[in-house]
């Protein structure tokens, strides 16, 4: 048990600061872009919240932040610091495959955190809009609620009553976590891992979906599950003692 925790702490220790930094930069970038778009709206022709979200390029910044997170998690435990970690990983008291699963869990938590933080930023910026635009025809008690229904990006962050979207997001976070952990495993075994690249690209392209896109959600979930399963099978095939380090 303690050995497992120690391996988890290895990953957490090397990602925590970078993760926090990423969140801060993303929040700063999104807030700045949103603020400028809001000021433009206040000075000129006012626009609705959904339109302002689009104008502030929030989804693009989130996409870049997400890709950086994928890179950060995938490169953790890769042999990029001039050290052959494979020799140590091979000799630890817990099998390397178990380590992959533990790190997949850690990565999934990071993706969930990213989701929560992005949701928090979006919600706070929506509150800012309501405060700044208070009294105008664009603001009512339901402005934020409606924006989370109408704007695809916001709706995909907080799908409200659309359970299938929550499940899709959960599946994506878990599958991305697995693929990122498999990437570093494969790198340590001199093999290429493209599963995380494919899944990250797919997620960026198809994350924002309008309400009621059940078929796309199911399709994306199934594709993500297939990619993650393929990556895990790859790890099991490579094995530990059977493989050349």
């Amino acid at each position: 048990m303690r050995q497992g925790v120690s391996v988890l702490m290895l990953a957490a220790g090397s990602t925590l600061k970078k993760l926090l930094g990423l969140f801060v930069i993303m929040a700063a970038a999104q807030s700045t872009l949103f603020y400028f778009a809001l000021q433009k709206s206040l000075d000129g022709e006012p626009v609705g919240l959904e339109q302002l979200i689009s104008q502030s390029r929030m989804a693009i910044v989130a996409g870049v932040g997400f890709l950086l997170l994928c890179a950060l998690l995938s490169l953790t435990a890769c042999e990029i610091g001039g050290s052959k970690l494979r020799y140590t990983m091979h000799r630890l008291s817990i099998p390397e495959r178990t380590t992959v699963l533990l790190w997949a869990g850690h990565n999934a938590v990071c993706f969930f955190l990213f989701w929560i933080v992005q949701l928090g930023i979006a919600f706070l910026l929506c509150r800012l809009y309501v405060t700044e635009m208070g009294g105008s025809a664009y603001v009512s008690k339901q402005t934020i609620l409606l924006a989370f229904y109408r704007n695809s990006f916001l709706h995909s962050l907080l799908p409200l009553a659309e359970t299938s979207r929550y499940i899709r997001n959960g599946i994506l976070a878990i599958c991305l976590g697995i693929c990122a952990a498999c990437f570093s495993f494969r790198q340590r075994h001199d093999k290429k891992g493209i599963a995380v690249v494919v899944l990250a690209a797919l997620t960026v392209v198809s994350f924002s979906q309008a309400m009621g896109s059940l078929a796309i959600d199911i399709f994306l979930s199934l594709v993500a599950l297939s990619i993650a399963a393929g990556a895990l099978i790859g790890v099991w095939r490579v094995g530990s003692y059977e493989n050349e380090l």
């Binding site: 303690r2 050995q3 120690s6 290895l10 220790g13 090397s14 610091g81 001039g82 050290s83 052959k84 970690l85 494979r86 020799y87 140590t88 091979h90 000799r91 630890l92 008291s93 817990i94 099998p95 530990s240 003692y241 059977e242 493989n243 050349e244 380090l245």
Partner: protein, 243 residues
């Protein structure tokens, strides 16, 4: 005892090890010598289970697997530590995974080499990294410590210190297999010399035998390798056209 029986290993059709037979009893300091590409590293990696091979390698009669791998440790000039962790964090991590981790020895060696405990290893100099790699391998509580050119890139003082410390701290049951080119430097510290050439063991002699025969290790190596003493003068003559 580690027993290597009829071990062969090829890389893409090229034989790196060819029918190696070797025994390593506990309590020896063994030098493994050979030119670049002779098979020193490959042999060590086969012993540690990092490479597939044909033949058999056993540790006290058992194949080397996850069950007994903790009885072997490895120091390599490629380094095997976590660059983002501090020395202190390594100690805590290794203590959990290697129950026989020798904290007293770790602290003593850290102090001796004057290595900082709370600095990430990626900020260490090459010499410090080598020292730390060796410290880790010596402190895991392993019975067999395999060292593959652990001091490549380190200065001579660094290496001198290490050999002295090594002799002073090793328990009678600990075995060191040290792969190096530095014959003359280590000949006073080892008890046995194994010569490997083109994947074959071409020499295996105890230092006592050598001493009794009045030869030095370098003489034994030259003799085994059929070294031609006039090789250099012949080449120079050919190059310069002088007779």
């Amino acid at each position: 005892m580690i027993e290597v029986r009829n071990v062969s290993k090829s890389f893409g059709g090229k034989k790196a090890l060819d029918s190696i037979n070797l025994t390593l009893p506990q309590g020896q300091i063994v030098g493994l010598f050979g030119e670049n590409g002779a098979g020193k590293s490959t042999l060590m990696k086969c012993i540690l289970g990092f490479l597939r091979f044909s033949g058999e390698i056993t540790l006290d009669g058992e194949p080397i697997s996850s069950r007994n791998i903790a009885r072997l440790s490895f120091a390599t000039n490629e380094h095997s530590f976590f660059p983002n962790l501090t020395a202190q964090a390594h100690m805590e991590f290794y203590q959990l995974h290697f129950p026989k981790f020798n904290e007293k020895r770790f602290r003593g060696l850290m102090e001796f080499f004057e290595l900082p405990a709370n600095k990430a290893l990626r900020h260490f100099s090459t010499g410090q990294k080598n020292q730390f790699e060796v410290i880790l391998s010596l402190c895991q509580g392993a019975d067999y410590i395999l060292m593959d050119e652990p001091f490549a890139g380190s200065d001579v003082f660094n290496r001198e210190d290490f050999y002295k410390v090594l002799l002073g701290i090793l328990e009678p049951t600990e075995t060191v297999l040290l792969a190096t080119h530095l014959l003359e430097e280590v000949e006073h510290f080892i008890g046995r010399a194994i010569l490997i050439r083109r994947g074959r063991i071409v020499g295996d002699i105890s230092m006592l035998e050598l001493e009794e025969s009045g030869r030095k290790l370098i003489d034994y190596v030259k003799e085994t390798y059929h070294y031609q003493a006039d090789r250099v003068s012949k080449a120079l003559n050919e190059l310069t056209g002088e007779q």
